[in-house]
């Protein structure tokens, strides 16, 4: 990994109560599958982000376990039914134990 994985999130800043919003996320990461070999024929060890999770005001909303078939620079989208204002926390967990976090505020009303 040459650069630190950078998460990016697209969440509407405002929503009406009861509105269904789509949340789109991306993170730069090579997602090394552990199935490739280097020039000397040695297997390149697996290093992927294995877990993505989203919570709102501390309450879990959605999570995904990613396996080695997930593409590089993984994309994940999902939905959220807006009921109150608050803050999303998005966490990506790397095989190497690192965690990458993003936060986004949502105003409902």
């Amino acid at each position: 990994m040459t650069t630190k994985p950078t998460p990016r999130v697209r969440v509407p800043a405002k929503a009406a109560a009861g509105e269904m919003i789509e949340i789109k996320t991306l993170i730069s990461h090579e997602m090394e599958s552990g199935q490739r070999k280097d020039a000397e024929g040695k297997t390149i060890p697996r290093k992927i982000i294995n877990k993505f999770s989203a919570s709102f005001n501390g309450k879990p909303v959605f999570s995904a376990d990613w396996y080695s078939a997930i593409s590089a620079n993984p994309y994940q989208s999902f939905f959220f039914k807006a009921t109150e204002s608050g803050e999303f926390t998005f966490i990506w967990k790397d095989d190497d134990g690192s965690e990458y976090t993003a936060k986004n505020k949502l105003t409902v009303g």
Partner: protein, 565 residues
């Protein structure tokens, strides 16, 4: 539907005079006397809206010859259905007399004598005459002109101007909207540059950016015509990123996207559209399936597969139109709307007989101006042909045989691979092979002719893969053009078999020996979808071969044995 009857009446005299050989006793003059511009335009108008449709012009500014396929197999549910009918079966289905103008325009047998009789077809100046005449007759506020795409690619001038010549011509024609396929091989930046400046809409509901999965182009546009709202939804070739080099548009993702299309239809209806048109580049069989699954489309204007049919095909409430290619036809649909819904559609496939239609002077002048920088180069005679040279057909075409011969000789290869493109004009026996003729069959933005080694097993794998793209029984799994053309090697194909077991009997033609799966063969080919492919442009390879050979003679190609059709 009046159109067929009228056109048959108009050409009945010509048909009666002709023998089965096609060349009537009074020859071309008689045919021209019976076939006038007025006959071609004759139409009993109806309703509030007229739609004119052209597709797959492939940058052909000038009239040309284009022979329709003799082999166009339908697979699965499409078996034996139009447009998968050729020659006598096609004429029988559409009630066309052998030797008639329609037979010449729409079928392939007896092409040479009929071509000498009826002359060339197409030309943007002739198309302009038809379009203007319909606008004058109906009132421009009732007429919508739509282009199904594959317009900016296919000629030397379009290649040199990066599509600008065609953009200017289509702008002058007051095009309302288009969708696309080959346009994307100009590269994403160039396409966006054109689209931002163009006076017409560029519509594609099925293209997303790869990063955020957002639409790249407007999906639809609503036009108000004759007091009626007409929604036009664009559908680019879903397989563009598979069939063409995706590195030229690396950030875009295509696909059929039925669900999103259904949403587009529903949104258009909610906006008050009485007529919903899909301006499609899916290819006919994909659109036939799509029409049975996506509800609420009134008309699908098809393209990509270059089919021309003098009648509508109906799937449920949806009418499918196939307007041919290379400027040979302009489709006209008059649509009557009652109580906010389509009540009736009247259709005519207008054949653009260049000798029967007076060129529009303004468009003729524009075409001359656009071609002027290249005119001398284009007219240059490189050699002559004694054989009919044509492209279309599922397995081979004599123009492709010429290209394969050129690669075998100029690149010193054992086997040549040439893509199954559907575009490019035909040349009659004893015609000059000009630079224009060569470039019309080769003008693409990834022309390099590579030379490399492949094993027999790899050659079979390529044939199986391409065959599955054409003969997969489900049209949604098909993509691309006709079967790859092969020089120096024969094979047998059972089109009814599944992927991996269609191809057999690979034979090295020169030695007569079976292709050895493990042996390496020197292979030349062009139009690689890989970035950085090395080799001279294919047009130079063909030019050098033609110049060295002087007179081209192509023997009938029986190297592909077809079964299972």
């Amino acid at each position: 539907m009046i159109s067929r009857r009228d056109f048959l009446q108009a050409t009945a005299v010509a048909a009666a005079l002709t023998t089965t050989s096609g060349l009537g006793p009074l020859g071309r003059a008689a045919a021209q006397q019976t076939l006038s511009q007025a006959d071609i335009l004759r139409f009993e108008p109806q309703g509030q809206v007229t739609i004119l449709h052209v597709a797959d012009i492939h940058a052909q500014l000038m009239p040309l010859q284009f022979r329709e396929p003799a082999v166009n197999l339908g697979i699965g549910e499409a078996k034996g259905l139009p447009p998968h009918l050729t020659d006598a079966a096609f004429r029988e289905h559409f009630k066309i007399a052998a030797g008639s103008a329609d037979a010449f325009a729409l079928t392939s047998d007896d092409f040479v004598s009929l071509a000498r009789n009826y002359g060339r077809m197409g030309g943007l100046d002739r198309i302009a005459t038809l379009v203007k005449a319909v606008r004058a007759e109906r009132g421009a506020d009732k007429v919508l002109l739509l282009d199904g795409g594959d317009t900016w690619q296919g000629s030397w001038s379009s290649l040199q101007t990066k599509g600008q010549d065609m953009v200017e011509v289509m702008s002058a024609l007051k095009l309302d909207a288009m969708t696309s396929h080959w346009e994307f091989t100009l590269g994403a930046e160039r396409v966006k540059e054109i689209v931002e400046a163009a006076p017409f809409a560029f519509l594609a509901q099925n293209i997303r950016d790869k990063e955020w999965n957002e639409p790249v182009f407007p999906p639809r546009k609503v036009f108000e015509k004759g007091g009626v709202k007409v929604a036009v939804i664009g559908q680019a070739l879903p397989r563009t990123a598979v069939a063409n080099p995706r590195w030229m548009f690396p950030d875009w993702e295509f696909g059929i996207r039925e669900d999103e299309l259904q949403k587009q239809v529903e949104e258009a209806r909610a906006e008050g559209a009485a007529i919903v048109v899909l301006l499609s580049h899916d290819g006919f069989d994909v659109d036939r399936k799509l029409a049975s699954r996506v509800k609420g489309i009134d008309v699908i204007l098809t393209a990509h597969t270059h089919d021309a049919m003098p009648g509508l095909i109906r799937v449920g409430q949806t009418a499918l139109v196939a307007s041919g290619s290379h400027g040979k036809f302009v489709s006209r649909l008059d649509i009557a709307v009652k109580d906010g819904k389509v009540a009736d559609i009247r259709f005519k496939l207008m054949p653009v007989f260049a000798d029967a239609i007076a060129p529009d002077p303004e468009m003729a002048a524009l075409v001359t101006k656009l071609r002027a920088p290249y005119a001398a180069e284009l007219a240059k005679e490189i050699g002559r042909t004694e054989s009919l040279l044509y492209r279309r057909g599922n397995f081979n075409g004599s123009f492709d045989d010429l290209i394969c011969d050129a690669m075998l000789s100029q690149r010193d290869a054992e086997i040549a691979l040439s893509p199954g493109f559907r575009w490019g004009g035909s040349l009659l026996p004893d015609e000059a092979i000009t630079w224009e003729a060569i470039s019309n069959a080769t003008a693409i933005t990834y022309p390099n002719c590579y030379r490399m080694e492949m094993t027999g097993a790899q050659l079979k794998e390529i044939l199986e893969d391409v065959a599955d793209n054409i003969f997969h029984p489900d049209p949604y799994f098909q993509g691309g053009g006709d079967m790859v053309r092969i020089g120096g090697m024969g094979y047998a194909i059972d089109v009814g078999k599944p992927m991996g077991s269609r191809i057999s009997g690979l034979t090295h033609l020169k030695s007569g020996k079976p292709i050895d799966a493990s042996r390496k063969y020197v292979v030349a080919g062009w139009a690689s979808v890989n970035e950085g492919t090395q080799g001279p442009p294919i047009w130079d390879v063909v030019r050098d071969h033609v110049a060295a050979t002087k007179t081209i003679i192509i023997k009938p190609n029986d190297a592909v044995k077809v079964s299972g059709a």
